[in-house]
Symmetry: C2
Subunit: 134 residues, 2 copies
């Protein structure tokens, strides 16, 4: 069921500082920031050849990463996103095995314009898992 | 300087339970556990096509992931590992720019038999970064 690793997401308090660190100190290719108000984040991508890292900065008052940054003010690894061919089939398999889907259990259109679901970290060893249909 | 994402590492309290979750619930390919007493971990790899996830369980009394699991008993995202062509050149560039290398600053042979360094999470937005020479 699991396909490629689509991305690893890192929540950061200041995306300009973080982008400069990755670009200048680590010599990485970092895209220009995109504001995604409907997702409550500003995002850049670090292009790594085989996959990418997303840096996420909170945007607006109801940002989904605000609570994480309140607990981890310096930032930190936030979630991993795996690709699946069929997100409804994936969801149904997960539900059958007792794994919990966050929210109402219906896929939403994610930051990349594709259907996504998030799985409960308590079911996956403390790791927030996103599934994205590709 | 940064090459591919070599792996994402997740610390887990029970690698058998975690492996079963990834294999059975998420339908992933999971290798059989390897004990690496010299690294203080038992490890399995989740093969994802473009990269891999490492699940790490503490092994022995001086495991480098023991403190992380004491703080995060359910487990959680532990580090990301990026590939570099020349780890000495990478280290020297990082030191020049003020980033801190963990330990004595000399590369060690990592769990994959290749030279690795770990960078201070405080310099990278709360994220523990491993560099591996490939």
């Amino acid at each position: 069921m699991l396909g490629r690793l689509n991305h690893v997401a890192i929540a950061v308090p200041d995306i300009a500082v973080a982008s400069a660190m990755y670009r200048e100190t680590l010599g990485a290719t970092v895209t220009t920031p995109q504001m995604l108000p409907e997702h409550g984040v500003t995002v850049v991508f670090i292009e790594l050849g085989n996959t990418k890292v997303e840096l996420l900065e909170p945007l607006g008052e109801a940002s989904p990463i605000a609570a994480f940054l309140a607990k981890n003010p310096a930032g930190g690894l936030h979630h991993v996103c795996y690709e699946v061919d069929d997100i409804i089939a994936a969801r149904d398999r997960l539900k059958t095995s007792g794994a919990r889907i966050l929210g109402d259990g219906e896929p939403k259109i994610g930051a990349h314009g594709k259907p996504v679901l998030f799985l409960h970290p308590k079911d996956f060893q403390g790791t927030l898992v996103e599934l994205e249909q590709t």
